[in-house]
């Protein structure tokens, strides 16, 4: 494959498209598919045929605004229709070339205008199961450029210049990581794509894998060239069947086009990728646990160092990056590291995809430049809290993150700013809560999650999270005491400082952040036996007697 060949494929796709006056893009991401957008697409095909108009109906990946699904986008007019049902197909077909169907039109300019799409630039515009569609949008140009015009060191330099940091949550500089693996001794090296998106309430990786799998593969290929790897694995959750199917299809197509296998693009570069299915363990998102899982063992983490960059899969130097990190690679190589570094804040460059969910009007997937304020995300892009309720907190970073109150809304979103206030970037889940959520109960929910997901290898995490859960359950039930609260805080410190891996080290974050910003809710539960949000079922508990423990203390 050369640049000319890529151009030829792109040209043939464009020629095919030129035959039509309109393109009807139907979202077939998981959200819209669950509302039968596949049947709707069939109806659209029939309706277009019946109307005799020249229009092409295409299956695409996620368009982002899941709340308004199923979505249909008409190009080149860029008319977006929401809540489209199969019965609407004739109306839409009839409107082509004329006035759009006003009743179905989605006018959420403020939702889309603030967004900058880099990772998601192809989502909603290409058929994720057609490699030629991807090639027609500059796909694999970056790979050809890297293989033919750049040395591995040049590639790493560009990634370092871009300031890209790991999008899985840790925020480790990607260029630095690549450089370490490239320098590691040994001829056999591995590239692993971490698609074990265990964080409940986040679905960025799923969406990227479902909408644009070729982009992730291209990122892995470039990484493999840069560090000198010949074998790669994509680790995906088994709970994501559609993502697995599209990825399988993507690998097969790439092999057929000579973009995977031996002598890629007529160079001496060889690389092949296999898919590995996760089996439902949150801890496998941790890199050493993920490696154990690929090796066919229980997914328990190992102490670092040695880091996987030096000794990873089967003891060989291994590069592990998140799906979204790999999806950022191709545009950086194509447009240069400086272009990427121009976006975002001082120490967090580029854009970040967030899954905006919870009590918010426009739930779905968004991509925004780093440094944007939480207020802009929630009030403008997200459309605020619905049903007349008031905003209470936003939770970022999943079970390792924290809850931020109204006072923090003007905070710019970046790795460092979030860490400073007790939350973290995490993989990009952003869950909005309103006045109907009890923050003590939320903390209990996350600790329960960490308790059940703890792998059991180290004691602080295994026993500590269980104890914290008991204490929080007691507080929620209205039988907690001030001593319990004190013990809880002490346990938070112990678990945080002494756990083996990231799961335990960050498990207390939801408790600590709710204690920091919503302490009065804890006190209400303990002292007045009252749940301010009316979530906890305290009335069922017999009237509180003076606790003997309180007297003893």
């Amino acid at each position: 494959m050369t640049n000319e060949e890529l151009e030829k494929i792109a040209e043939s796709v464009r020629a095919e498209r030129a035959k039509y006056d309109h393109e009807i893009n139907v979202c077939m991401g998981t959200g819209c598919l669950s509302q039968h957008s596949d049947k709707m697409k069939e109806e659209l095909v029939k309706a277009v045929e019946a109307s005799g108009k020249k229009a092409f109906v295409r299956r695409t990946g996620c368009m982002g605004l899941c709340a308004a699904g199923p979505l249909v986008l008409i190009d080149p007019e860029e008319t977006l229709y929401q809540h489209v049902q199969a019965s609407d197909a004739p109306r839409i077909a009839a409107s082509l070339g004329g006035e759009p169907v006003a009743a179905l039109q989605c006018n959420l300019r403020e939702h889309f205008d603030q967004q900058v799409h880099v990772v998601l630039e192809n989502s909603g515009h290409i058929d994720p199961e057609k490699i030629d569609d991807y090639i027609s949008r500059d796909g694999y140009k970056a790979l050809v450029k890297a293989l033919t015009e750049m040395t591995p060191n040049d590639v790493i330099q560009q990634i370092t210049d871009s300031g890209l940091r790991g999008r899985g949550g840790g925020g480790y500089p990607t260029g630095l990581k690549w450089g370490t693996v490239a320098k590691a001794a040994g001829s056999l090296k591995y590239v692993i794509c971490n698609g074990d998106e265990g964080d409940p309430g986040a679905f960025m990786d799923r969406s990227v894998l479902e909408s644009d799998p070729q982009r992730v593969l291209e990122g892995m290929l470039i990484a493999a060239y840069a560090i000198g790897a010949s074998k790669g694995y994509v680790y995906v959750r088994a709970e994501y069947p559609l993502a697995v199917a599209r990825l399988t299809n993507c690998l097969r197509d790439a092999r057929r086009r000579g973009l995977l296998g031996n002598n890629i693009c007529n160079t001496s570069f060889n690389f092949d990728v296999e898919i590995r299915l996760g089996a439902g363990a949150f801890v496998c998102g941790e890199e050493t646990a993920l490696i154990s899982s690929i090796e066919g063992r229980r997914g328990t983490p190992k102490p670092r160092p040695p880091y996987p960059a030096v000794s990873g899969l089967w003891g060989k130097p291994t590069l592990i990056n998140n799906v979204e990190t790999f999806a950022n690679i191709a545009p950086i190589i194509r447009k240069g590291g400086k272009w990427f570094a121009a976006m975002g804040s001082e120490r967090s460059k580029g854009t970040k995809v967030f899954a905006l969910t919870g009590k918010i009007t426009n739930t779905g997937l968004i991509e925004v430049p780093m440094g944007i304020s939480l207020r802009t995300i929630i009030e403008e892009i997200g459309g605020g809290v619905p049903d007349g309720h008031t905003f209470k907190a936003v939770q970022t970073g999943g079970p390792s993150g924290g809850c931020l109150p109204t006072e923090m809304l003007d905070l710019g979103v970046s790795y460092d700013s979030l860490l400073k206030v007790g939350a973290m970037m995490g993989s990009g889940g952003m869950i909005v809560m309103d006045d109907t959520s009890c923050m003590v109960n939320v903390a209990r929910f996350f600790i329960e999650f960490c308790m059940t997901e703890s792998c059991g290898k180290c004691v602080p995490c295994r026993a500590g999270t269980a104890q914290m859960h008991t204490l929080l359950t007691r507080i929620c039930a209205g039988t907690g005491t001030m001593d319990d609260l004190e013990l809880l805080i002490e346990l938070c410190d112990t678990v945080k400082e002494t756990s083996l891996c990231g799961l335990g080290q960050t498990a207390p974050n939801p408790v600590l952040s709710t204690l920091k910003y919503f302490k009065n809710e804890y006190l209400e539960h303990i002292l007045h036996k009252r749940c301010p949000a009316g979530v906890c079922n305290i009335a069922a508990v017999p009237a509180a007697k003076p606790e003997p423990a309180e007297v003893l203390a």
């Binding site: 679905f203 709970e239 869950i431």
Partner: protein, 165 residues
């Protein structure tokens, strides 16, 4: 060293051939354990003792290690599923939208705790940690089919239909 010959298939059930196929594709390598268990579960619906023994022996993995892997990962089930399965998502977004109430309602209706199957083998009640459709929370999977904005009434109606189907 004598060449390794894998043990014979446990029965002439055709599904074992699919399982053996996965192992052969991976050259009977030990690291194919999880892949193979995935195949067993997708073919048989669950993993019983015979299956775990067969896979462990074929891949030359200690039985303890195979059993350890099966019990470590939530995705693997040691019990046969009911005729129908209601899986309620208990991810954060769904929790904020009140799935704990849905789970409680289903438990009360079926008279079984989550993770169990009714005595007549009709319905299994499961919970999942996020199926990644948070935009449509609360979410439930009815026999694997994703249903968004699930209400209590909708769920109970489905359970009642399944009780006799």
């Amino acid at each position: 060293v004598a060449a390794f010959t894998p043990p014979p298939l446990p029965s002439d059930d055709k599904r074992w051939k699919i399982v053996a196929g996965t192992m052969r594709k991976n050259g009977f390598a030990r690291h194919a354990l999880i892949e193979t268990l995935h195949t067993v579960q997708s073919s048989f619906g669950y993993l019983d003792n015979d299956a775990i023994r067969f896979v462990a022996k074929s891949l030359r993995v200690p039985l303890s290690q195979a059993y350890g892997v099966v019990t470590f990962y939530h995705y693997f089930s040691l019990k046969p599923p009911g005729k129908h399965t209601m899986t309620i998502c208990t991810g954060t977004a769904c929790y904020i939208k009140g799935t704990d109430l849905l789970v409680a309602k289903a438990e009360q209706h079926l008279g079984i705790p989550k993770g169990e199957t009714t005595a007549d083998g009709q319905i299994s009640l499961m919970t999942a940690r996020c199926v990644g459709a948070c935009g449509r929370a609360p979410v439930a999977l009815t026999d694997g089919e994703l249903q968004g904005h699930m209400s209590g009434e909708q769920m109970l109606a489905q359970l009642e239909r399944w009780a006799v189907e």
